[in-house]
């Protein structure tokens, strides 16, 4: 009996520690999410929001080309960015892990991800400095006489992709490097002893072993990229809108909360599907 009462007392104390954080998460994360999901089933009349409890907004999303296009633009940009970033980051992580002397590796890595810590807004603005009509690239090329008219670099999808790739190359370098240094060197030595050449060692041993790390990094890239508003807004301009830009547009001029909520839920469903695909793939890899 005595131990039982002691246990309940212990338990009560334990709840005391955990409850504040749980309450915070429920109050400011779970409930807002439920409210948003409910609002996505409402309609807007002028500035009034009327709870209609129907799926009209979702139907509207699939019927209206400019809304649906936002999702496709976002998906295209995100996939392009993910692929280019992996292709650029892998060799960089490899060189840091293999070619840079051991005692400089930490330094090289810190340097490689230093600009990672500039804020989104400042980083995108910096790329604008480089890519704008009178920016660094155009002015330099005109000055050198390579071109006579400035190129249209900013306010394009390429500008958005460059801005994103810059950020995610740093992120992926970090995750891939972590994977590469964890790999025991014996594996490669064994493969080499068995007669594999450098390329074969890489293709049949190193790459498959680092694939999980690449997938985790690629998933992070996907999630962060598809939900970002700043980079497409500053660098891509208003020519073609990504989904977060479409969401912000609903809020701004039209104060259409139900549609913004609907689009957010759709964005979340897409991310969740990517997560499930990634998790399932990782599980298959392991078994």
């Amino acid at each position: 009996m005595a131990t039982a009462s002691l246990e309940t007392r212990e338990n009560r104390r334990a709840w005391g520690f955990v409850t504040p954080a749980l309450l915070w998460t429920v109050a400011f994360f779970v409930i807002p999410f439920i409210v948003m999901a409910a609002i996505s089933l409402a309609t807007r009349k002028g500035r009034e929001i009327i709870m209609a409890w129907n799926f009209d907004n979702y139907i509207e999303f699939f019927e209206k080309a400019h809304l649906l296009k936002g999702l496709f633009v976002s998906l295209e940009i995100t996939l392009t960015v993910t692929i280019i970033s992996v292709i650029l980051a892998y060799p960089l992580a490899w060189i840091i892990a293999e070619r840079v002397p051991q005692k400089w590796q930490r330094m090289a890595l810190i340097m490689a991800i230093l600009p990672f810590w500039t804020s989104y807004v400042v980083r995108s603005y910096s790329w604008l400095l480089v890519l704008a009509q009178n920016g660094v690239i155009n002015n330099t090329l005109v000055y050198l006489g390579v071109i006579s008219e400035p190129l249209e670099l900013a306010s394009t999808r390429s500008a958005t992709v460059i801005g994103f790739v810059h950020f995610f190359v740093m992120l992926l370098t970090l995750t891939i490097y972590a994977n590469l240094v964890q790999m025991p060197p014996n594996y490669r030595r064994a493969a080499a002893d068995l007669g594999a050449n450098g390329f074969q060692v890489f293709w049949h041993v190193v790459l498959p072993l680092t694939l999980p790390g690449i997938m985790v990094g690629a998933f992070l890239t996907f999630v962060l990229c598809i939900g970002d508003y700043i980079t497409p807004q500053i660098l891509g301009g208003n020519n073609e809108l990504a989904l977060p830009q479409v969401i912000m547009l609903q809020l701004g001029r039209r104060a259409d909360f139900p549609m913004a909520a609907t689009l957010s839920i759709i964005l979340m469903v897409v991310v969740t599907m990517a997560y499930i695909a990634c998790a399932r793939w990782l599980k298959m890899e392991r078994t």
């Binding site: 504040p20 749980l22 915070w24 991310v271």
Partner: protein, 263 residues
């Protein structure tokens, strides 16, 4: 061996090219913040500190900077305290559905900031809560709490558990164990969580943008400066923001990781 020399050359040039790509925008940003002229683009006319002077005498920017610091330090403190208590409770006691609780606490990490911000905005609107720096702070705690919890929870090992048990056997009350035994032992990871949270909150835009009205944080103020196009003053603010972030990370590296490395 020509091929090995060639591959070495290839790797070093690749390294140089990628570092160039990574540092290009930052270098341009910082260099042209010293531009003696109206446009932060080549040609470079000569160095001046004029734009930094303008930044530090701009009262709106300075109040945005103070707001950012207050929100960052406030929200990081709350996130750390909540995260530490939750980690302590879940690591030291046997609670029902502890996996579910951990999952719930980590969940906000997997959701886009935009969606967290929109959820809070619709809820505050619905409840009639007016937007202020407080609402921004609430949002920043939501995104930083999972981080703080995960970092501190991961560092609570069995080794500390025994020391805590010893303290309890010697008659320490639970709060004494927590504040005088556990917290000092876990200080490196608590500090890491704190400085990372400060950095994230300091840089965060979309939550601060959607959940603030009159008093804004620095990224939001910089955002409104962008409407005037390229401007050396924006370069100067951007450089200041970047330097603060790097300084925070240096503190993190020096205090926290050095200490853990020594142990």
């Amino acid at each position: 061996m020509i091929s090995s020399r060639f591959s070495k050359l290839l790797s070093w040039s690749y390294l140089a090219a990628l570092y160039g790509f990574i540092f290009l925008p930052v270098a341009v940003l910082v260099l042209f913040s010293f531009q003696d002229g109206r446009l932060p683009v080549p040609p470079f006319n000569g160095a001046t500190l004029k734009w930094y002077g303008e930044v530090f005498s701009d009262s709106r920017l300075m109040s945005a900077l103070t707001n950012s610091l207050m929100v960052a330090i406030g929200s990081a403190t709350v996130a750390c305290v909540l995260g530490f208590c939750a980690a302590y409770g879940l690591a030291r006691f046997v609670l029902p559905a502890s996996r579910l609780q951990r999952g719930l606490l980590i969940a906000p990490m997997t959701v886009s900031y935009l969606i967290i911000a929109l959820g809070l905005l619709t809820t505050f609107n619905w409840l009639g809560v007016s937007l202020s720096l407080w609402t921004v702070g609430i949002g920043h705690v939501v995104i930083n709490l999972p981080l703080c919890f995960a970092i501190i929870y991961a560092s609570m090992g069995d080794h500390q558990k025994n020391i805590e048990r010893a303290a309890r056997d010697l008659g320490a009350a639970e709060w004494q164990v927590m504040t005088q035994v556990s917290a000092p032992m876990l200080m490196p990871s608590i500090l890491a969580a704190f400085f990372l949270s400060v950095t994230f909150s300091w840089d965060e835009f979309i939550i601060a943008f959607l959940l603030s009205r009159f008093d804004v944080t620095l990224p939001v103020e910089i955002w409104s400066m962008l409407r005037s196009g390229l401007n050396p003053k924006t370069n100067a603010v951007g450089s200041v923001v970047f330097l603060v972030s790097v300084a925070l990370l240096l503190i993190l590296e020096l205090i926290v990781f050095r200490r853990t490395a020594k142990k």
